[in-house]
Every structure is written in C-alpha cells, then in structure tokens.
C-alpha cells in the first residue's frame, strides 16, 4: 500500500515499484541499518530528490515497504474447528512478528507514519485473517467471539509483549491466550 496512488499508470508506478524493489534488495544485501536514501535511489535508477519528494523521508519509505511485507499472503488454513484455527494462526502470527526481522518491520511500520495509516493497515490485516477464521466457525455452527474480542484477548497481548517484552515469548503463550479466550466465550460481555 503506497503513500499516494496519483497517476497510477506509467512512470510513477514504475518508479515506485523499482524503489520498493531496491529497498527490499538492499535490506538483505547490506542490512537495514546501512540503508540510505541515496543508496536506494542509485539502486532503483532514480535520483534521491525523487524519493525525498514522494516519501519525504527514509522512515516513511521503510514504513511503506514494511506494511507490504506484513500483509499476509494467504488465507489461514482450515484446521477443522475454531480452537485449532485460532491457535494455529496465533502461533504463526507470533512466529513471524516476534522474529528480529518481524519486529524491525513492525517498528518501521509504526515509525514513519504521521497519521497512523500504516499502523492501522497492519491491524486491519490481522483483523481480516481473524474474520475469516470466525466466519468459518460460525458456518460450522460453533459459538464464536467477535473480532474485536479476539483482537483484545489474543492479538493485543501478543503484540504488546513483542514490542515491550521481547524476552521469553513462545508458542505456549499464544496457545494459552487462545485457550483462555475460548473458555469464556459463553459469557455475555459487551
């Protein structure tokens, strides 16, 4: 999801694509900390001023790339029942996000984001995945919490600990969060 979609066809689109590609390529070649706007520009075959004008800042460019990277590429697998689906999703979510690179992407997404658009997009991705899982469960006739409850009880604790307490996170924690949530869904909250 890029900052601006003005003039979607033609040169603008090509420039944006090649800049994004350059960022991803250089990230794995020289590392995230060695990235600079002129370096990206050279690799993308563009002048630095173009990047500064379109993204304003290296932070904002990285934020854009990070959000793309954090977009889930496949729908969550159907494991047969809600508990298994949510558990598997939470474990995978934790795996991807708690890794060093995952945390870097999250921080990038949060960082160069004046209005919170990119951060909101990340949250929306998770909500979409959960919505698919809950929809399946509902079709099966299972009793399901709503998306916001899953966000509060599973996604938020995972993300909070990833950001503020990276130590000692593992699949056990993710599984427990799901178990505690599903053990109380018969209550009539909210």
């Amino acid at each position: 999801m890029s900052r601006q979609m003005v003039r979607p066809g033609g040169r603008s689109a090509r420039v944006q694509a090649s800049v994004h590609d350059a960022v991803r390529a250089l990230m794995s070649e020289v590392g995230r900390d060695a990235l600079t706007v002129p370096l990206v520009a050279q690799r993308a075959g563009v002048t630095p001023s173009t990047i500064y004008r379109r993204w304003g800042d290296l932070k904002e460019l990285l934020s854009d790339v990070a959000v793309e990277r954090l977009r889930p590429d496949t729908a969550p697998r159907d494991q047969g029942d809600l508990s298994a689906d949510l558990t598997a999703w939470a474990e995978q979510f934790l795996d991807e996000m708690a890794s060093a690179s995952g945390r870097a992407y999250i921080r990038d997404a949060l960082l160069g984001d004046p209005v919170g658009r990119n951060a909101g997009q990340c949250s929306a991705y998770a909500a979409e995945q959960i919505d698919v899982i809950l929809g399946r469960a509902t079709e099966r006739g299972e009793d399901t919490p709503d998306v916001e409850t899953v966000v509060d009880r599973v996604v938020a604790p995972l993300m909070y600990r990833i950001l503020f307490r990276p130590a000692g996170l593992d699949g056990t924690y993710a599984r427990r969060l799901v178990a505690e949530l599903l053990g109380t869904t018969d209550r009539d909250d909210r």
Copy 2:
C-alpha cells in the same frame, strides 16, 4: 534511566543531565520535529560529537528522555476497592498515553531502542503500579488476578489500540476492559 552509568559522579553525570534538560526545554520551545543533535548540543553547552558518542543517535537520546517522561511520578490513589482502583488507573493511563504527546513519547521510547531496554522499562512501570493496586486489594482480602493477567487483559489492549488504532478510544473502553477482567477472575487460569 540513562543509557550508561559509567562514572556516575562528576562530569559525565553533569553532561547527561544538561543534555536531557536541553532536550526537554527545546521540545516545548521549538517542537519535537525541529530537534537536531547540534541544536541540543548547543543548548546543553556540549559539542555534538559528545552526544553522538554517548547516545549514538538522536532517536536513542529521545528514547532515553521519553522513558524518563513516562515514569509515573506518584503511586496510584487508593479508591477503596480493586475495581475502582484499577478502573481509575486504566482511565488515567489511557488519558496520558493516548494523547498526541503521549503517543509521541511511546513511539520515541520504542524506536531508538536496539535491545528493548527502554521499552521493557515502560512496561515495568505499568506493572509496578498495578502491583501496588493488587497488593492493596489482597490486603483487603479481595480476590485478585495476578499482574500478568492484568497486563494481558487491560494494559495490552489499551496499548495496542493506542499504537495501531488511535481512533475512537475513550474511558468507556478502559472501564469495560477492567469490568470484563474482574468479572472472570474466579476462573482458574494458568
């Protein structure tokens, strides 16, 4: 909590204090976005290279200052019972953290923090406050959840939404989180 406490007495301490003071003063005078290392250095009566060597980066310096700013200055007020204590604390926490300046401080604390020391400190502050509240409740003979549960059920959802979905947050949400938590503390989780 400063980055390094080597040689705590004498010049190092004075330099650190005057740099931190300069950051705080300039933040209110020229705004956070106008801060630069040379500007802070001049105000602090220090050369820029000193700041670069000790903090490495403007982000890391701001992260240090942000953590100081996020440290609670007083113990939570005693309102008579656990529900009232937790509710009042959660509302105040949301108030302070969800404001524009609060979010800026949180982001600063998270960003310039390679090893997660500052972020962990922020989390520890909240945990300390909650521990005081829970300790009082236990003394009264009330049935209390443990700190980690409160972090998962109240702090994490608040912080997640502050960071990823800043829109539409208010005291109602904070109160509901506490009410939902205390309505289920009789379960034997974990």
